[in-house]
Amino acid sequence: MSAPPLPKRKVPFVEAIRERTLANGARFLVLENHFNPTVAISGSLNAGGLYAPPDRRLIASFTAGELAKGTARRTKLEIAEELESRGASLSFSAGSGDPVGVDVGAASLSRDVEILLDVLAEVLLTPAFPEEELEKERMRLVGVVREQQDQTSARAFEAVSRKIYPPNHPFHRRTAEERIAAIESLRRDELQRFYDERYGAGTLLLVVVGDVESGKILDGLERRLGGWRSGPPREIPRPPAVAPAPGEETVVMPDKASADVILAQPAGLERASPDYLPCVLANSALGQSSLTSRLGVRVRDTEGLTYGIHSGFSATHLGGPYAVSLTVKPESRDAAVAATLQEIQRFRKEGMTAKELDDEKTSHVGRFKVDLASNGGIAHAVDSAVYYGLGVAYLDEYPSLVEAVSKEDADACFAKRVDPDRFTIVSAGSFGGPEGSSVTESAVSSEGGSHSQTSPVP
């Protein structure tokens, strides 16, 4: 049974989108959608943590976060008032998930789009990084880091990324104390220098979708951003490949009713790789959904050990880890980890069934369409396709690209990237003795045999 045909978009994206690339390298794409009087902007520029010194990665997220905290002309609160009084929003963020890019996100009613573009250009071109705002942000961020230390998910994520990736790697995450020390010592001139060196039109991409006139938006963007420096080129230095470091770690946190468990290993799958779709389809069958994927059916639906279990590849410009994450009450951890590993082993050995592949294909094509049902969803999809070098045509070709994936491709890609015997397993929660106890025994040690169980699966 193959996928039922889905209705086609009336106008292909390649025809509906208007595009302009300026001499300084800035690239703009606009799609008119007049159904609702709103506009969404999604974009990026290459100024993420990858480009900051390894021991000062947070300069990137700090710089992005401070852009709108004051400009040559206006204070933070004046800028915020301009946007908030119209129900508009604008954000810049550089997260650890994608070490390359700074994400740009904005939205407003379409009647306010010119003001939104004014503010966007003002904060991109003339940020002032006022010292008093920096000091407030340092104090707040130290608190935020401390708050994260109370979260089992954040602690498990930090521990697993430290265990897998060496200290200079962009996916390595420093300890809370190291991060606090870095935040407290961050100087204004470091932000200014990072901004001067990394921010420019050469890597700027902005996608505008909504109730607008495309010609007017393109002209407006050119008028506002055409004079900006080009800045650095689009090059993306690749960190050296990392080998798996199998092992286990338990982070003891008292008073936590639920524990977080992450099983991860470096997978090196990049978004633009031909392996991406086969790998993602295979993973969907194994663990993308808590309700319907193999891991969800076994560990949640059948055994009732978790509320949520998900697996996925981190695939951006850089190939990140493959990770399975789940929450359990502490006493259920060993059973849940054993069941998880058993399912991954079985999947790796047998591969997808023909029905799983068919279902995943219709699911991905259908979900793709459902996600394109809003201005924000369309803007994000266009932004991603261009940012990762796939091109706008990718959006039109996506259904046939998915349809073309064979079982052999999917099984082989997954087997190449994921080895069930090479996971790093980290748990964070109330394990071991009384609160404050500093020692715990991990019952999922490799000697325990849970890695190699081959008993039949119900």
Binding site: F35, E249, T292, K329, V370, S437, T440
Partner: protein, 464 residues
């Protein structure tokens, strides 16, 4: 105002030339592009809103049953029942390989179900040529759930882990404790997830009884939002829901009323951690109360954006890491809440007294016209942004149905647009009284024993 906000020009395109509607339905009314119909055979309320922004549609069914309808010993039953609705019905059964989730996932649907104080809702956003699958599933759920004990047993522990995850969150712990303290008689006292031992102890028979009392077409609203033709949609709805009988017995009403609070209440939760939280909540009104729009505007004035009063007073002054203001809108009178994680090194007293003084300032001096205008614009924009996607409209409409009726959703922008600074000051004076206040503190507990002192939990590495 209303027409500009709620009648995007293409909403009704084509509906007037559509084929004749089935006899099975009676037309009730139309407002803001939403058309209400009633299925004559069983009283099912049906709402249709055409939105052709993309070839997708959201189908949702809201049942007028939530944790508000539960009592001692079976708290959490509504939510547990919602989970079991994914396990098996006569037509969609995991044991036959036709689980609801598997069928929907294969379509690429975005779907889920949620339970809250006043309602339970089920929804699926599907490609528009697969609308009928969503209707079949929801019709099957309405009276065909199998509710086997063999499904409840493993699902109970799934739900218990959901409860445990909530217990990890200071915000969730505080809000549960706030409602438990502010409400003693009304069932808003207990959280929707339920008390732990009720989740563990409730029997399958009790869940079945609950299902048989509340899951009927005359206690539900079905809504379809998106890319469809009205006559076709009504024909499908009749085909799948028309033969389901209305309930034999009337749906029981909740009659418990929380008496006025006669003095400030306080509670403290101490757990290991590094960051304290403060929560202040005042007893207010039901969603349908005429004061609700002014309280909503005040919520924005105090809590939305960097320029909101409490953000300026707490975050800009480095007292708190963030601040969340919630003017709860529920079927019965609820709360106006302020939650803030306290910046380490700052005393919780400093945050509590600053919130109280900002509230006192609103009561004594009121707010400015400019603040009210900004808040009204923000709320107007939120309503318009909702229309960007079918599932957001469905979500907002579901909440309106749960606490009032769908007309309230249609009227809401107008109600908000009429709020003045005087209204805000009046409602502030009426509700922000110390006698109606509940204050909650979440305090980091110092670790005792031989291990290292907080705030440095320990990592232990074992294995290869």
């Amino acid at each position: 105002m209303e027409s500009e906000v709620l009648n995007p020009r293409s909403t009704l395109e084509g509906t007037h030339n559509a084929p004749a509607v089935p006899e099975a339905f009676e037309f009730v009314r139309e407002k803001a592009g939403i058309r209400e119909w009633r299925l004559r055979s069983n009283g099912l309320q049906v709402l249709l809103l055409r939105n052709t922004v993309a070839p997708v549609a959201t189908f949702a069914v809201v049942y007028h049953v939530g944790s508000r309808n539960e009592a001692v010993g079976h708290t959490g039953a509504t939510h547990l029942l919602e989970h079991l609705m994914f396990k098996g019905t006569a037509e969609y059964d995991r044991e036959k390989g036709t689980a609801v989730a598997a069928v929907l996932e294969a379509l690429g649907a975005r779907f889920n179900a949620t339970t809250w104080f006043d309602r339970t809702n089920y929804y699926e956003t599907v490609p528009s040529d697969r609308i009928e699958v969503a209707l079949e599933i929801e019709a099957s759920r309405m009276r065909g759930a199998l509710l086997r004990d063999s499904d409840r047993v493993p699902e109970m522990t799934v739900v218990r882990n959901e409860y445990e995850r909530g217990e990890n969150s200071p915000f969730q712990v505080l809000y549960k404790e706030t409602f438990a303290t502010a409400f003693r008689e009304h069932p808003y006292h207990h959280p929707t997830i339920g008390w732990r031992t009720d989740i563990e102890g409730v029997s399958t028979d009790r869940l079945k009884e609950f299902y048989d009392v509340f899951y009927h077409p005359n206690n539900a609203t079905a809504m379809l939002i998106g890319d469809f033709e009205e006559a076709d949609a009504l024909a499908l709805l009749d085909r799948h829901f028309g033969s389901i009988p209305r309930s034999v017995r009337p749906i029981p009403e909740v009659y418990t009323v929380e008496p006025p609070q006669e003095g400030e209440r306080r509670f403290t939760v101490r757990r290991t951690g590094q960051v304290a939280w403060v929560a202040l909540s005042w007893r207010t009104a039901a969603a349908t109360d005429p004061d609700t729009p002014a309280l909503a505007v005040l919520g924005n004035v105090l809590g939305v954006g960097l320029t909101a009063r409490l953000h300026l007073a707490l975050v800009e002054e480095s007292l708190a890491l963030s601040v969340t203001v919630v003017p709860w809108q529920l079927r019965d009178p609820a709360l106006f809440s302020v939650f803030a994680p306290v910046r380490p090194g700052v005393e919780t007293d400093a945050v509590e007294s600053r919130v109280r003084s900002e509230i006192a300032r609103v009561v004594s001096e009121g707010v400015t016209d400019a603040e009210v205008e900004k808040a009204r614009t923000q709320i107007e924009a939120e309503v318009i942004f909702d229309r960007d996607s079918t599932d957001q409209v469905a979500a907002s409409l579901s909440e309106a149905i749960a606490v009032a009726d769908w007309g309230w959703y249609a009227d809401y922008p107008d109600l908000v647009a009429r709020v003045t600074a005087d209204d805000v000051r009046r409602v502030a004076a009426k509700y922000f009284r110390d006698d109606a206040l509940t204050v909650g503190l979440y305090l980091p507990k110092q670790v005792t024993g031989t291990g290292p002192a907080a705030p440095a939990p320990v990592s232990e590495v074992t294995g290869a």
